[in-house]
Point group: C2
Chain length 299, copies 2
């Protein structure tokens, strides 16, 4: 049973087939959020703070932190954001950047065992990122594309993932510290994107024995009623072996899908989380009120 352990200075989280699905909050990311980008570039972290607290309150098990702002000092802003978020919440973080210097700046200030997001199968990235993962004893998200791009063939994506796992092993990084992102495509454009993802997730679990993650909302891009599609995609992916997702924990429908998947996959022991969330409050008081009301009507 593959366990990917990540931690903060205060808390450990284990990603695994026999564990509740790991929700990685995606909100702290200025990509496509102009206001947040401007704030972070100006040294204003108030939205970062609010997003950190709100996501953990909504049930995120980890938070992704990204500071990808054009023309800004990304390494410094990422490090600052990570220090701030770690001072506010105790969940482990995913350090997210396409710039190796930013990843290193984040790792240098991080307290605990981080998840680094991400490495691809491109030779240059492998050579730059994997030594950092080893140096800091981190875990890493492996994205299953390489120099040739993103294949539509899930079997090609499987081979890329396998290559990354093998290269990580060469650097002394165990497969349990590689969390593969199978790359979920928009199903509105590619009708077989769902079955391709499910097939790949299952092979990654059964043949490569690795944990998996994905940017879940991509599946529903361009379609109406996205929350319902995302929620059922997450549950179906979890049923095929997906163990985490980078997603918005403030979306109720998606979180209900994850909670249902945990119950149905037998990893919400005694349905305790489901009952805590959805069980109606004790009815004793209201029954008493109803009886009083009836007495009053009769009286």
């Amino acid at each position: 049973m593959t366990h990917t352990l990540v931690s903060s200075h205060k808390k450990e989280v284990i990603i695994g087939f026999d564990k509740p699905f790991c929700v990685i909050g995606e909100r702290i990311n200025p990509t496509g959020r102009k206001k947040l980008a401007a704030e972070m570039a100006a040294g204003d972290y108030s939205t970062v703070e609010a997003d950190a607290l709100a996501q953990v309150a909504a049930g995120a098990n980890m938070l992704d932190v990204n500071a990808g702002i054009p023309l800004a000092d990304e390494p410094a802003i990422l490090a600052e954001s990570i220090k701030l978020v770690q001072s506010l919440v105790d969940v482990p973080l995913s350090i997210d950047s396409s710039i190796v210097e930013a990843l290193e700046a984040g790792l240098a200030v991080y307290q605990g065992k981080a998840l680094v997001n991400s490495v691809t199968g491109e030779e240059e990235r492998l050579e730059a990122v994997l030594p950092l993962i080893k140096k800091y004893g981190a875990a890493v998200v492996a994205i299953s594309n390489d120099e040739t791009g993103i294949s539509e063939d899930p079997d090609v994506r499987f081979e890329v993932a396998k290559k990354i796992v093998h290269r990580a092993a060469d650097f002394g990084i165990p497969a349990s510290d590689v969390v593969v992102d199978p790359l979920v495509m928009p199903i509105g454009a590619l009708g077989q994107a769902g079955v391709a993802a499910f097939r790949l997730i299952r092979r990654l679990r059964e043949e490569l024995g690795v944990n998996t993650t994905c940017g879940a909302s991509n599946i529903s891009f361009g379609l109406p009623n996205r929350h319902a599609l995302n929620a059922h995609f997450l549950a179906m992916a979890a049923s095929n072996g997906m163990t985490s997702a980078i997603m918005n924990p403030l979306h109720e429908e998606e979180m209900t899908g994850i909670m249902a998947a945990n119950v149905l996959n037998g990893v919400d022991t005694n349905c305790a989380r489901w009952l805590r969330k959805f069980r109606a409050p004790p009815a004793a008081g209201s029954q008493e009120e109803a009886r009083s009301a009836r007495r009053r009507r009769r009286g």
Copy 2:
């Protein structure tokens, strides 16, 4: 690719891995519905009529018809109900009874190729029901329990299903005309009921090559927020190969789960059904209205 063809006098439905999930409406069933039982026993079929029309309007692809009323003339009532329902709607029917004489009475009046619900792995049932299936050229739901009861072990249930498929073959009934019900247990009582069902459904698909069905709502018995659990169970089961379910098509959440599963399994071509149901109506008119409103305010 296994195809189970069922039909009415007007319409064919194919149950199969490459087809949209087949929703079998469960409402025409007096079990636990005292008022309906009393009506049917008294020859009043108004609720049967209303339930038939409402379920097809809600998207049922087939209807289950059951007339199990204690001390009533079940064969006559079942035959009457089937004639009536076939006069009202054109979807194929599932003829549902635990009494062999009732199944035969239903089959005798049915126009088309029915699904018979059900046969178990019990020797006496096999000997009584399978000849009827062969005689009328019907398909049959095979419930994976036998004289020893319902095993909690999905591998034992698989063996029972396999035995039924083999016995059906002895009677000249192809495996494609056997739709196996893996028997879904309440997850509130048996925490591994979900994974047991998914595992069994996958084996039935991959090793036995048969279509599957189940009474889906059983999974959530005794738990709060049942619709959400049922919806995600259906999607997860479909992702493991389940191709139909006996369920209440009037429940919006469950039907959304089925529709999402069809999109994600790549069997809702071009997401056409999803778009038809959820795409917002054209906004041209309302935009014009908004412009007029602005002009009026300015004027």
